[in-house]
Symmetry: C2
Subunit: 265 residues, 2 copies
């Protein structure tokens, strides 16, 4: 099916999900929408997050997407049922695939979930892991400085290593055997996180797990596209300049054009 996959996030972070998706499914068209006029969602109430998410999802649906990938952890935790009710297409979030991948990797040790304060406070990963890996203990840790470090491009060297040491030392001592990167920005810091956690634990990336879940769902529903010439559109809701710079950093490739769209309610 030739229609594009829609990918939605509150800002630039979801581009790591888009990157994993286009690597896994290089023949698929995509449309990415970052709601940069209202980022960050993580400090907003559930009602406000759901209102913003519906605006964005309806805009993407109006572009004729065949599936919506919610790359934002906050929206995945708070608003997935509301989006699934509102749209006539499949809706995939990042939390369930990430938790499934972590549950498949643990060997009975503790699972450490890293996320923003909002994601950790929502308890969504913890609840999914208690269901999917009932024998494992779950340790959740909010790492608020990881997002600005990733956006600043400080992804190796002394500063991110010290910050990671401060957030992660007791998770390492607690013997975590699996570390779930439960925030779209954190894959950019994967090397530093792996270094601080040591050689034991497996790192599980929600972005890659979500790309795999999307691939399986497309196949199961017969919605795959076959052929060359996949097209990728990038939209954001405020001035595109800073977004453009970040987009190239997060995607690891040049981006032709970022289109600004007005989604004022």
């Amino acid at each position: 099916m030739d229609a594009p996959i829609g990918v939605f996030d509150s800002g630039v972070g979801g581009l790591t999900v888009l990157r994993a998706l286009t690597a896994r499914l290089p023949e698929e068209h995509t449309i990415y929408l970052g709601d940069t006029a209202r980022v960050p969602y993580g400090t907003r109430s559930r009602e406000v997050v759901t209102r913003y998410a519906l605006l964005c999802a309806r805009h993407l649906a109006a572009q004729g997407i065949k599936m919506l990938v919610v790359a934002c952890n906050t929206v995945s935790a708070d608003s997935l049922p509301a989006l699934a009710d509102a749209l006539p297409i499949p809706v995939v979030g990042v939390i369930e695939p990430g938790a499934q991948a972590a549950a498949a990797r643990t060997r009975g040790g503790a699972i450490a979930v890293l996320g923003t304060p909002a994601t950790v406070a929502s308890g969504a990963y913890q609840a999914a892991l208690r269901r999917l890996a009932p024998l494992s203990s779950v340790l959740a840790r909010a790492c608020p400085l990881f997002v600005p470090l990733a956006e600043e491009g400080w992804t190796d060297g002394e500063v991110p290593r010290l910050v990671a040491e401060r957030y992660l030392a007791d998770l390492r001592r607690a013997g975590a055997d699996t570390v779930l990167l439960g925030c779209t920005h954190y894959p950019l810091l994967a090397n530093v996180i792996a270094e601080v956690m040591g050689p034991g634990p497996a790192l599980v990336d929600s972005a890659q797990a979500t790309a795999e879940a999307v691939a399986q769902l497309l196949r199961a529903r017969g919605l795959e596209r076959r052929g060359d010439g996949a097209r990728h559109r990038t939209l954001c809701t405020d001035v595109p300049e800073r977004f453009h710079l970040m987009a190239e950093r997060f995607l690891g490739r040049p981006v032709d054009l970022v289109e600004a769209v007005d989604l004022s309610p």
Copy 2:
């Protein structure tokens, strides 16, 4: 005059201005409004910033304030004329007082301006300093990690010192004799900044300079309040819980109540 002073910021940062204001003018009533539903402003376009700022300013004006203090650097740089046109009361921003204080302190060396990427890119401090201190050179430096460090409460120790060293080392080597803290969050990191810059340069805080400017303007217009029992109200536009925690960190005192207000356009 018994009416309160209104203080407006995009989030919690302006509380450092409120703190300086209540220290300088302990008899004045205040109402603080943090637009936490739309924070941060620093990445938004001028049109969007002005639209949000007008909403907030009109809400405060409707509470009967006698003066509006715009504690937000982005709004002070982008939208001060629009606010002054829209309101029948005096409007004071943070940039002009901060630049005046820096111009008064420099002894002909370079003035270093520290701010968010948006404030530095706006060029507002640089333009004011070229006018007020035409013989000084101005060096501006965006320090995006300082805001999350202040909000995380990591204001001393190895991590903030290394971050400050990375941002400030070449300003120190360039021989700056004055350092202007051009972001409302940065006073929380003043000790680390002073340590990294060494004993030479004077630190100038826009918050304190603004409090002094407000005191002078109140006196000049005969608007001062005399008497005990100053009351302080705190409003924000999204869920108050996280704001409350930050408010106590930024004000350095307990806060009774944070009121949520709905300013949806």
